[in-house]
């Protein structure tokens, strides 16, 4: 009973989404939704271009290899490799925009329906979005550092 009273006190005197916060979050969610939709369209275009570009590379490699022993196996492998690489990049970016979209949509519904659960889900997606970008950035930084180290060592041994 005492604990229940304490929780209620925390709810009454803790942070809330007041009118000002509500306005800011509504606007943020509107722009986030716009950004996510634009992102989805661009990823779809990117995926189409990746597949189309793959067939272009297949033709290019095919013409280059028509007189040598490497043959069509290499060409097909190279083409599939390029397509898979670009589709993986598209998938990685798509996931980020999916979290952004979920943040925006859940926030909008939470604010419209005064739904605490949706608000929490929205903030959870915002957390996942930034964590996801953070981890990708950290991985990118590690690769960049490795590249710099290898470049310096390579230059030193020359």
């Amino acid at each position: 009973m005492e604990q229940q009273n304490q929780n209620q006190d925390a709810g009454l005197f803790g942070l809330s989404i007041d009118t000002t916060g509500r306005e800011h979050l509504t606007e943020a969610a509107r722009w986030a939704r716009f950004l996510a939709i634009v992102g989805f369209v661009f990823i779809a275009l990117f995926a189409v271009l990746a597949i189309a570009g793959g067939s272009y590379f297949a033709n290019m490699f095919g013409r280059a290899n028509q007189f040598n022993e490497v043959g069509s196996g290499f060409t097909t492998g190279m083409t599939i490799g390029i397509i898979i690489y670009y589709l993986c990049v598209a998938l990685l970016v798509f996931l980020a925009y999916l979290f952004l979209y979920r943040f925006a949509v859940n926030m909008r519904m939470a604010l419209q329906g005064n739904n605490q659960e949706l608000l929490n889900r929205s903030f959870q997606n915002l957390k996942i979005l930034y964590r996801y970008w953070g981890i990708l950035t950290a991985i990118g930084l590690v690769f960049f550092a490795l590249f710099v180290v290898i470049a310096v060592l390579g230059r030193g041994s020359m």
């Binding site: 989404i17 605490q116 903030f123 957390k127």
Partner: protein, 139 residues
């Protein structure tokens, strides 16, 4: 009456606080990384300006003159400045939201949300500018 309204308002409860704190931690990391990267890009371009000018002059004839190089460095500095401004709003938002949650300060929390909103608006406007620029270059 006001108390009734506060009960009906959405609360930043324990789950929301935890999620927001985690989000702000990563957002802060991302913004600081962006500041450092933009600084490094600008330093890199200024330090290696002569090499970059000679590399560009092979592709674009007459690039090596001082005006073209100055313009390139100017564009890089402006682009870095825009990214830094965008990331400043993300940084400010994450710091204020975190402090607001820790000190249970509603005003500070709202200022953090305002910065987050500005970040999304600026990101959206830059996206629109990018889209328009791409469309103009196509037609």
């Amino acid at each position: 009456m006001e108390e009734d309204q506060s009960i009906l308002e959405l609360q930043v409860d324990e789950t929301a606080s935890k999620n927001l704190s985690d989000a702000t931690r990563w957002a802060k990391f991302l913004s600081i990384t962006a500041f450092v990267c933009m600084g490094l890009v600008v330093i890199f371009f200024i330090a290696l300006r002569s090499q970059i000018a000679s590399a560009f002059s092979e592709v674009i004839p007459g690039f090596s003159d001082i005006d073209s190089l100055g313009m390139l460095i100017g564009i890089i500095v402006i682009a870095a400045g825009i990214v830094c401004l965008l990331m400043y709003f993300l940084f400010r938002g994450s710091v204020l939201i975190k402090k607001g949650i820790e000190s249970k300060n509603q005003d500070m929390f709202n200022h953090g949300l305002a910065s987050l909103k500005t970040y999304f608006i600026m990101y959206g406007i830059l996206t629109i500018i990018g889209l328009v620029a791409n469309l103009v270059s196509i037609f």
